[in-house]
Symmetry: C2
Subunit: 199 residues, 2 copies
Amino acid sequence: MSFEPLLQYISQYVQLTEDEQQLFLSKIRLGKYLKGQYVVQNGNVCRYESFVLKGCLKTFYIDNEGQEHIVMFAIENWWTADLGSFLTQTPACYNILCLENCELAQITYADLEALYLAIPKLERFFRIIIQKAYIAAQQRIVNNFSMAAKDRYVQFRKQYPEIDQRVPQYMIASYLGITKEFLSKIRARLARRKSSRVN
Amino acid sequence: MSFEPLLQYISQYVQLTEDEQQLFLSKIRLGKYLKGQYVVQNGNVCRYESFVLKGCLKTFYIDNEGQEHIVMFAIENWWTADLGSFLTQTPACYNILCLENCELAQITYADLEALYLAIPKLERFFRIIIQKAYIAAQQRIVNNFSMAAKDRYVQFRKQYPEIDQRVPQYMIASYLGITKEFLSKIRARLARRKSSRVN
């Protein structure tokens, strides 16, 4: 697997010279994980910030009652990490698990910090992508408070159609903060509405 | 009001030279707002990213039923903006209102973009503070799903004791996504528990 998708992704935001690309890639490791394998485990330090070349992952949290809550998914061209753990190099609160066989372009904290100094353009790159992630997180907080579960699901499906197709429904329910039974009802209602519109 | 608190805040993350400080401050405007005044109104473009020198503000969203949902508060040494609107220079979804008379150090999008080029260290500065905001936002999503309302309030009070004191309780209830009646009950229960522990 080449790192071309990562370079293409970066080039949307900043232009690296040939030398900078080489330096950057020299710090990137290819991580291959099997379906069901953990990239990050709660209690261990999150060693890498990972760019998804191939596959699908979930980030989740287990509460005191042992219930799983899905924080985010990641598919190709997304970044994933327990960012709090990665940036402070302290034990992770979250788990990151592969839902499919995955290939990840990974960088350690020390290497990333060194790269920021060597290639200041990367500060800009990561500033911009983290800003986007922050805006999406804030929007999700508001949606969780202000939108009915059905509307949140409709929006999720529109925003992330690929994830809706690749991920089991009970995980999407967890991400939306509803039960899987309730999500089934919503889906059934939406399907009925669609078929009555077609007929 | 001097901009000293802003320079001090920045110096925690990056070291600006005297010249860079002067250039940076030359782009900063002092915004004075009265209690009840809007810094950002839903539908208008968010013109400034604002650093709070003095005062307290709320960012909120009005849903289709006309109900208000508080997204965040801001007090001294915090940044506030409708970041989605500011960064894309499109109409704001949120409103930002002064809960006290406020003095804000403000910068426009065009000036900030020019400063990033003139002082690349500012890329680093804003990358770091947005990372922190993102981690907090993600934590809040998980807490909303996984923690009981009482525990969320206890955590809020511990994390932001000053906001708990300066902001009316019904606004904190809105921030936590619960009714003000329910928050009153939680507070009464906590007070009873505290007094029974004291006696």
